[in-house]
Symmetry: C2
Amino acid sequence: MNIFLDWAATAPPDPEIFQETCDTALTCYGNPSSIHAAGQKSASKLAEARQKCAEALNVKPQTIVFTSGGTEAGHLPLLALLRRPVQGTLAISAIEHPAVIEQARILAHCGWKTLIIPATGEGFITPEAVLSTIRDDTAYVAVMAVNNETGAVQPVEEIAAGIADRTKGKKKPFFHVDIVQAAGKIPVNLNCPEIDSAAVSAHKLGGPRGIGLLYHKKRFEPFIMGGGQESGIRPGTENIAGAWGLAACLVKNCRSPADDRSYSMAEYIIESLCSVPGIAPVPETRKPDDRRFSPYIFQFTNSMFPGEVLVRILSERGIFISTGSACSSRSRARPVLQAMHVKPEKQLGAFRVSTGKSTTKQDIDCLTETLKDIYQKNKMHTKKE
Amino acid sequence: MNIFLDWAATAPPDPEIFQETCDTALTCYGNPSSIHAAGQKSASKLAEARQKCAEALNVKPQTIVFTSGGTEAGHLPLLALLRRPVQGTLAISAIEHPAVIEQARILAHCGWKTLIIPATGEGFITPEAVLSTIRDDTAYVAVMAVNNETGAVQPVEEIAAGIADRTKGKKKPFFHVDIVQAAGKIPVNLNCPEIDSAAVSAHKLGGPRGIGLLYHKKRFEPFIMGGGQESGIRPGTENIAGAWGLAACLVKNCRSPADDRSYSMAEYIIESLCSVPGIAPVPETRKPDDRRFSPYIFQFTNSMFPGEVLVRILSERGIFISTGSACSSRSRARPVLQAMHVKPEKQLGAFRVSTGKSTTKQDIDCLTETLKDIYQKNKMHTKKE
């Protein structure tokens, strides 16, 4: 039996949500843009899915646009900048997902300049760092709610308030929050009036691939065009089954965000792993009971193996972890750890453990014992040589 | 029992393909970017899906990029123009899908000018029309393979050759072909060396929503950025189940494109419908045995009801047709018919019948009889008044 501890990359499919998704695919196949009964049945189901997502996130249904995932949800408001007559700057946090930071950088081809908001050594983006980065011509700011590599929960509401305060009387920059690792996991307040948009992905919550949503406080003029679906914000034939699956994910997960039990489990994870000689949390200052971090994402470093080697050895033993973001696994660079000024040897030995609601203490015990065993065998092997 | 004659909008789910898609979602849930065994299992399945799609389309696997659908597949090469240092013009056929024509037009915000290639009165784009539209600064040309409203099969190979010939010794414009209504339905030759990219969608072939593919002859520098998936051309966690579903669609449908039976069925459809007084094909010159049109898409016009009213009346009787593109159903404008200079009263009465491999003569008989009955009742009603 394998142990899956890579939930931040993707979650195992939730059987209930999977069933609802499949049923919808079979029963609501009409194109919701079609005016006949088969189309209208799909259109109703889509509206119902939107309503459910909105209720789960405590926002209005008209602020929800279904997308093909978190990446596309992040792109839509960013690309909309290309409709503006005057270019300016973007302020992007140093720990942002590549879907946002890389897309922002490429806008340089269209005259937009990206400024990077520095992170603290613990991987936090402070309101002060944001304010010292934004300028009079800053049109867009992005800070993610929960970092996907360290689990650091960012003070997005304080940042939002800070931006609003600083730009009072002027045009406030658009503020986007990537909540892919937050929605359904920790409490998220999208009713904060200074948050303009947010991105969600279903597959991080046990839902289907290829579906996500963009929350957008107000309608914006889109740069991505097509058949006018999703209020003209996201074109393409709507994925009703996916939207329904995402709604089911949010309904199920948002009603029970991280609680004392989740944090006590987090404590257990950090204490267990750090009982293995040579393993330490990243940042080093992360305490077992540190609620400034998501109780589902843990970055560690180890002094025995490069992270990638450790991932492979554990995989051979049926335990699935990762080094950092799956999306960055192609390059060995660790931009988030670099932004935190983690020392190169600690970056090399870094690995991520990310959990879900079904992760058990037994899973963690097995990981800890396996790590001890691997290290023990490696030591003996090294001594022999 | 309902009769579904709106296949060009979306096809009813194919049970075999649906099953394969579901099985894949449950068994290959690892993130293919993850280096552990669960991730690598998904990566292999994705590679296998790519291989199957490539074989079905008779191209190399490295030319296939999975996308969230036909719309996104159309966008990727178009948006890539934004990386070019010098702007120029785009030549877009007047009958193109809004995903291409509207996206092209919005590039005006970034200095690109769209020139429209006129259609003939029969809805064809001739090589001459393309050549008279392209200029020295034309960087991109788009002509779809099969029009989604009329079924007109466009001479894309002749157009491709014409463009290559005209621009010999200079940089050839990028030539994109939307094959959403062609792939798996009529023979498509992507090995034509002057076709640079093509877009495919699964749900038009009975496959899942939210998955499509972009064929691209050569790698291009992408403007859409993120986690580097799909050779850096299309970011976002890969939808393995969707990709597998699309592969199953193409394998199943590409091996049996339209044959004599399909064209004989098309003949039956046109003859049956035109036996109803007041109904005529659009264009009027489309003969029942006219192989210049897809045997799956038929535009008609009727003199009794506005097309939209007819769609609603038929829907109440359990027969699902459309006026034109589902993607354009929000506005009553009929840009394709306008481009063909169809008279306004004929545009108003226009409706589309689109069929699939499971459509039967009995379905068509039922549509024909129902239309006759509706007209008869309406005549009596009008007389009474």
